[in-house]
């Protein structure tokens, strides 16, 4: 025994020889002493050995005092931390009946009022929708709408009479709605060049604008691309009796688009000059940042049915007012079976007449309250003692293997 001191200190009553002999028997126990002395707990020791066989080999080799002394200096026990030892304090949530019922109830209690408020807001909105693409085709052309819309010599003027169903407070928003128009088509969405729109120095940049990059004689088109080319070009004007209802077309686009994406010093050029005219022509003396119809149009819609803001009317309309709409039905939706609608709508804090959110909140809230009761009932009808050991699988099927 090289250093009997610590050993005899622990087992003073043992004679030297037996102490040595006991080395083998003790070696295993000695392994745990090390960490205890360090105050780290036995865990680390067990793990140190599990992960590192060679360290364990030396400590388990345990030839008495030698091993003990060596162990003290030469341990590979990892430093103790709650993180590595997986002993971080943790919250252990259990879905007890109490929790389930209260979560459902809480969601219900919060959602139902929100739903009611949203629904009321949506109900306040008055909306007049008029589909005119069909009605504006002259009766003799209904069989051949495409010929009608492509023929420039036929007047596209059209008059629609709208009746206000309920009182509409100003501002009244004028939207046009297109159906079956895939503004989200992959080829369509990418057919634009943002750099060109916001920087006059890059007006020649027309990458990704195919097939509307250059005119026939090779000049770059500004704004290039299919989106701009297909700009909606129906126009509306409204009268109530004799009174002209001016449509204010200022601030119909998002401010960020106006100020950052469309530059003040970029002017349309070579636009709609080709043989195939897609839509509205732009006044080339007005910078893009003020072409709000274009800006609105170029914020492409997510769904094939979409509305775009056309303008606002700052006049209150009373119930049963008749409004005469003079529109020019220029835009060709006939070739792809699209629909065109004119929408007059008011708005609340939540926006237009979209009761989806309100109904969704109300239904989910209602369902949650119902489920809160249903679960209460379930817990009463089919009670189960929490932590009933009869539910353990090996107690349910004792033979279970």
């Amino acid at each position: 025994a090289a250093s009997p001191a610590p050993r005899s200190a622990r087992a003073p009553s043992l004679p030297e020889s037996t102490a040595e002999a006991a080395g083998a028997g003790r070696a295993a126990r000695g392994v745990y002493r090390g960490p205890e002395r360090r105050g780290g707990g036995g865990v680390a020791a067990a793990w140190g050995m599990m992960m590192d066989g060679s360290a364990a080999g030396t400590s388990n080799g345990g030839s008495g005092a030698d091993g003990d002394a060596a162990r003290r200096n030469n341990t590979r026990m990892p430093k103790y931390s709650k993180f590595t030892q997986q002993e971080l304090p943790a919250c252990k949530p259990i879905l007890t009946p109490k929790w389930v019922v209260s979560v459902f109830f809480l969601v219900g209690v919060v959602f139902v009022p929100v739903g009611v408020v949203s629904l009321l807001a949506a109900q306040d909105v008055v909306e007049i929708i008029d589909r005119y693409d069909h009605a504006c085709v002259p009766p003799n052309m209904t069989d051949n709408k495409l010929a009608y819309i492509k023929n420039d010599t036929i007047s596209k003027e059209c008059t629609r009479i709208l009746t206000v169903t309920k009182e509409m407070k100003q501002p009244i928003y004028v939207y046009y709605q297109l159906d079956n128009f895939y503004q989200n088509h992959r080829r369509y969405v990418k057919s634009r060049n943002d750099a060109q729109l916001r920087d006059y120095k890059k007006s020649n940049t027309t990458t990704s604008c195919d097939p509307e990059r250059f005119t026939a004689d090779g000049k770059p088109i500004v704004p290039c691309g299919l989106i701009a080319w297909s700009l909606f070009n129906d126009t509306y004007s409204f009268t109530r009796g004799k009174e002209n209802l001016t449509v204010n077309k200022k601030d119909i686009s998002w401010k960020s688009d106006r100020e950052h994406k469309f530059a003040k010093n970029v002017y349309p050029s070579n636009f709609q000059n080709g043989a195939l005219i897609g839509g509205k022509k732009l006044n080339s003396s007005i910078p893009l940042s003020e072409q709000e119809d274009l800006i609105v149009w170029m914020r492409t819609a997510a769904l094939p049915t979409f509305r775009k803001l056309y303008g606002r009317i700052y006049v209150d309309l009373k119930a049963n007012d008749t409004i005469t709409v003079r529109l020019s039905n220029n835009y060709n939706t006939y070739s792809f079976g699209g629909k065109k609608k004119l929408v007059l709508s008011t708005a609340t804090w939540l926006g237009g007449k979209n009761d989806f959110l309100g109904f969704a909140y109300l239904i989910v809230g209602g369902l949650c309250i119902f489920l809160a009761f249903a679960f209460t009932l379930l817990y009463l009808i089919k009670p189960r003692k929490l932590g009933d050991h009869n539910y353990l699988s090996w107690n349910r099927h004792p033979a279970g293997r």
Partner: protein
């Protein structure tokens, strides 16, 4: 002049010692190996040694036979040439070495036998009992004699007095008679026949017992020589069938190769997950043949440890390794994998639904960067936290209810059903994300009446996806540490931080600035906030409903255990090993025995051994050690066993 040469031969290890002209080689090995190679004659010493061997074996000692053979220098030289040749051959070296060894390992003269006492490691019986309760089937593959092996099985509670034992041994009268006649072909035929018959009759008996008295434990014990024939392709099916019916299987006197063969028999034949644990060099092949190989580091050298997947210091740590860390790892892996499926499915399906409304043009719903960073940043960290920290029940409870391990054996958490449930909810959520956001975004928003575009809708949907997917993770956690909160909140915050910066910058590169200012536009509307609350709640509604119903009506075992112990104080140091300051009576006894002067062998490393030696040596030393009831019972059963093989031999 003295040197010795060691060769790894068929008889475990043999070495030749040369002293100038007087040459002799000695061999040591298991009795069956040595006896085969003995020269004729000397029946007295053979018989005495055999008796001794049996006696030692019943006492649970490890036995070895020693033999020697005189060699002349010429014999040695001619042999050595062949040996060197074999040693340096490039092809089939092992086989050739065996052949050469065979040349010299014959006509040995028995010297005698040795018996070594070999202490069982601490806690082995308890460990094996726990593992059995966990539904793990334990096979003991040992080089020990059958008597020793059965003793060990008793000590480890693998076999008790109620257990019905099926023993196939080569130590039967019929086989001995054949051996005495000395014709190797005849011996092989006799052994094969007897193995075949006993396997068939045992299999029938075991099946009958299983159907009549299913609660009765069955044990199957076979020795290496018979195993060699039982592993024959023709008999293998019966062997496997019988072994799988029996609760425990003991194979004794098996060679390292046979250990590996048995392991792969179970692995391939029964398509079960196998784990091998051993401490010696002869366990290496078995450790490598199993799915999971565990080496015990100890006195027997490092070969087992180096060949293993995991190394532990003592056998009993296997409980911790399997029941605690193995089980946690299984749970975590299942959770992480299914969650990965879920989060990618739910995200990708929203894109899929969008495709239906773009004229199938393949327009992407989300901005490229959203897609790229989704898995990298916005949903990466929380799932790692689950992989690191999730615990269903604490370590001490894992060991207290070893049956919980069966959930892993049955693969409860990674069945098709589980994946299908996740898949279904991913499907449901993706519908909610896409259609609800799209529907809610229709028409004007806010009092300005302005309209949202495609990128506004997709950013809204993506925000909902990130929030929901991260919250869903929190819902599936069994234990939530501060790192969970941190990572979940951090992931959601990272998304907002990213989108705030991303939509505020414009670069001079030629790219589409689709999401420029989108988040600010969105956040200026009530729609954003109402949707942000609505959509995740509806998306998680289904999961919550499912979890509540599942927990109440069809609780998993771990959930019941959680409920049983939900009011327990937090145990932070759960793996702490038992205190050693107070010795239990049993420990005190083993301590007293370890004090015996003769017992200063350093042997502690063997994995399997019987505490029965204590009384064996103690009685020789005149120390009175009280017999335990099972000691007595075991002795009684040993006598029976010695007769049993004879009976089967005759049948």
């Amino acid at each position: 002049m003295f040197w010795n040469l060691t060769v790894q031969g068929s008889a475990n290890l043999w070495f030749a010692a040369f002293q100038m002209e007087n040459l002799f080689s000695t061999a040591r090995g298991a009795d069956n190996v040595i006896y085969e190679r003995l020269a004729d004659g000397n029946y007295d010493i053979k018989k005495t040694s055999r008796e001794h061997l049996e006696q030692f074996g019943s006492a649970g000692l490890r036995t070895l036979c020693l033999a020697y053979r005189d060699l002349s220098m010429d014999q040695y030289k001619s042999w050595n040439e062949k040996f060197v040749q074999a040693k340096s051959s490039l092809r089939d070296r092992d086989k050739k070495l065996d052949e050469v060894a065979e040349l010299i390992e014959k006509d040995l003269i028995l010297i005698g036998c040795t018996a070594i006492e070999d202490k069982l490691q601490e806690g082995v019986p308890a460990c094996i009992e726990t593992l059995s309760a966990a539904g793990i089937k334990i096979w003991v593959l040992t080089g020990d004699k059958m008597e020793t092996a059965i003793n060990i099985a008793y000590a480890c509670s693998l076999v008790n007095n109620d257990t019905k034992q099926f023993i196939i041994s080569s130590e039967t009268d019929t086989i001995r008679e054949a051996e005495d006649r000395g014709d190797p072909v005849e011996i092989a035929r006799v052994i094969k026949e007897s193995v075949k018959q006993s396997l068939r009759s045992y299999l029938e008996e075991a099946r009958r017992s299983l159907s009549n008295t299913p609660e009765r434990k069955l044990a199957f014990i076979i020795d290496g020589r018979c195993l060699m024939y039982a592993l024959d392709p023709a008999l293998r099916v019966n062997l496997l069938g019988l072994s799988l019916i029996c609760h425990s299987v003991v194979c004794c006197r098996v060679s390292p190769l046979q250990k590996a063969q048995v392991t792969s028999l179970v692995r391939k034949g029964a398509r079960k997950i196998t784990l091998s644990i051993g401490d010696g060099a002869n366990d290496v092949s078995m450790i490598q043949a199993a799915h999971v190989g565990i080496g015990i580091s100890g006195q027997e050298g490092m070969q087992a440890v180096m060949a293993s997947d995991f190394a532990i210091a003592q056998f009993r740590y296997l409980t911790d390794l399997l029941l605690v860390h193995g089980r946690w790892s299984y749970l975590r892996l299942c959770k992480v994998i299914t969650y990965f499926f879920y989060k990618n499915l739910t995200f990708t399906l929203t894109q899929f639904w969008f495709t239906f409304q773009t004229g199938f043009s393949g327009q992407r719903f989300y901005d490229d960067w959203f897609q790229s960073l989704y898995n990298v940043i916005f949903t990466a960290l929380p799932v790692i936290m689950v992989g690191l920290f999730d615990k269903d029940v604490s370590a001490s409870l894992s060991k207290k209810y070893p049956q919980l391990y069966q959930e892993g054996i049955r693969n409860t958490f990674f069945k098709w059903k589980v994946i299908a449930v996740w898949g279904f909810f991913a499907f449901y959520q993706s519908i909610v994300f896409y259609y609800f956001t799209a529907a809610a975004s229709q028409h004007g928003h806010g009092s300005s009446g302005k309209i949202l575009g495609q990128w506004d809708v997709s950013t809204m949907a993506f925000t909902c996806v990130v929030v929901t997917v991260n919250l869903r993770l929190l819902m599936s956690c069994n234990s939530i540490t501060r790192w969970h909160y941190f990572s979940v909140a951090g992931s959601i915050a990272a998304w907002f931080l990213f989108i705030f910066i991303y939509s505020a910058i414009m670069t001079s590169f030629d790219r589409q600035e689709n999401v420029y200012f989108v988040i600010y536009v969105l956040m200026s509307t009530f729609f954003f906030y109402l949707t942000l609350i609505l959509v995740p709640v509806i998306a998680l509604f289904g999961d919550f409903l499912y979890l509540s119903l599942q927990r109440w009506l069809f609780p998993y075992d771990y959930q019941v255990v959680q409920e049983m112990h939900k009011d327990d104080p937090h145990e932070y140091s759960m793996i702490r090993l038992p205190e050693r300051s107070h010795l239990s009576p049993e420990e005190a006894r083993s301590y007293a025995i370890s004090m015996l002067p003769r017992e200063n062998s350093k042997h502690t490393g063997f994995a399997f051994d019987s505490p029965g030696y204590e009384s064996f040596f103690a009685s020789q030393q005149g120390v009175c050690v009280p017999h335990k009831p099972w000691d007595v019972a075991r002795r009684a059963s040993m006598k029976q066993q010695r007769q049993q093989p004879q009976r089967t031999g005759r049948s």
